[in-house]
């Protein structure tokens, strides 16, 4: 996917995954992540894997990494909350690079009221779990932000989370 002809944020995010060498994206969708995964499915270099639950997605991505590829996990913040055990007992314990794109539901940009409780605890949870993260800036180079996140995960041999909002996909 050429970065020069891209229009949507979703395309730029996926171009970032491709450029960073991501070979597999494991996902449990929400409305936003589902739109992003639709773009992933158009990729010629990234294998899209639909998982039934988020912990699986983390382990699938780690397996791809251990087998010589690069895995990414695309989930909602509620799904990330499910992943404390596998983050500690697999990603951290075995020091496996694992890059996440997480939909930041319930922050000030989310129009859906019932996500608000998740928004309140997202960044405190990331901090408590010592997960390095960044909030995507759609006014900047989204592909480069993905690239920096993947690189950070590779260098630290651990997780890195890029939080996105629905408007980042437009």
């Amino acid at each position: 996917m050429s970065t020069t002809s891209l229009r949507s944020g979703a395309q730029r995010l996926v171009a970032g995954l491709e450029t960073a060498g991501v070979t597999l994206a494991a996902s449990v969708p929400d409305t936003w992540i589902g739109k992003l995964m639709a773009t992933v499915r158009a990729s010629r270099t990234i294998r899209a894997v639909d998982a039934a639950r988020e912990e699986e997605a983390v382990a699938i991505a780690c397996g791809a990494g251990l087998a010589g590829g690069r895995g990414a996990v695309l989930i909602q913040n509620a799904g990330l909350f499910n992943c404390g055990g596998v983050l500690a007992g697999l990603v951290d314990l075995y020091r496996i690079p694992c890059f996440f794109i997480v939909s930041y539901r319930g922050d000030g940009r989310d129009p859906v009221y019932y996500h608000e409780p998740k928004g309140k605890v997202t960044e405190p949870t990331l901090a408590a779990w010592r997960l390095p993260y960044a909030i995507a800036d759609r006014t900047g180079d989204l592909a480069a932000q993905v690239g920096r996140g993947v690189d950070a995960a590779q260098r630290s041999r651990g997780p890195f989370v890029l939080l996105i909002s629905g408007e980042d996909l437009e």
């Binding site: 070979t23 894997v49 382990a59 699938i60 397996g63 010589g68 596998v86 697999l90």
Partner: protein, 185 residues
């Protein structure tokens, strides 16, 4: 009912040079360093339920290798949904063995919830069509090649004896050692 060790020894002896082995936490991971395993092994010592999805990621990344996952019934009972994920991804190079002893062996031998789980039916209901149940070494020796050659994800449900006095060796490898040694060439 057959003890775990002879079943595990029989399995290891059947692995081909191009296979990769992923083990769940507990007795399997603790026994494996003491067996003659000639394939790459990724042995978990934590993270219940991660063995099958970890193996799935490896299998999808490396379709030229056959990945064998060992999982326990306590772990899979936490997340049987992973079988639907495997069925959807449909790798032709993934075989899982589910060790069924009805107990959380590595945490003190507590019994699983006492429901009579029909693993074969559950797996088929979640989309795994190649499922066999085995209960001894000869049956495992017969079933594993069929599973491995199925060209679709396969599950062997292995009934294994639970012995609270079984002298299972302790973990003898640290995660950083396992991670550093694991290479799929």
């Amino acid at each position: 009912m057959t003890a775990r060790k002879p079943l595990l020894e029989a399995l290891v002896a059947m692995l081909a040079p191009d296979d990769v082995l992923v083990s769940c936490l507990g007795a399997n991971s603790r026994y494996l360093p003491h067996l003659s395993v000639r394939v790459p092994v990724f042995a978990l010592c934590d993270s219940m339920g991660a063995a099958i999805p970890l193996a799935l990621g490896m299998a999808l990344q490396r379709p030229d290798r056959h990945v064998v996952a060992l999982e326990g019934d306590g772990s899979l009972l936490m997340c049987p949904n992973v079988l639907a994920t495997v069925a959807a991804a449909r790798p032709s190079n993934l075989t899982a063995l589910l060790w069924v002893n009805g107990h959380y062996e590595s945490s003190g031998g507590q019994a699983l919830p006492s429901a009579p789980v029909d693993w074969t039916s559950l797996a088929k209901g979640l989309g795994i069509t190649k499922v066999e149940r085995v209960g001894d070494v000869p049956a495992l020796r017969a079933a594993f090649p069929r599973a491995r050659g199925a060209r679709e994800p396969a599950l062997l449900v292995v009934d294994v004896a639970f012995d609270p006095n079984e002298p299972i060796p302790p973990y003898s490898e640290r995660p950083d050692e396992i991670r550093a040694r694991f290479r799929i060439l």
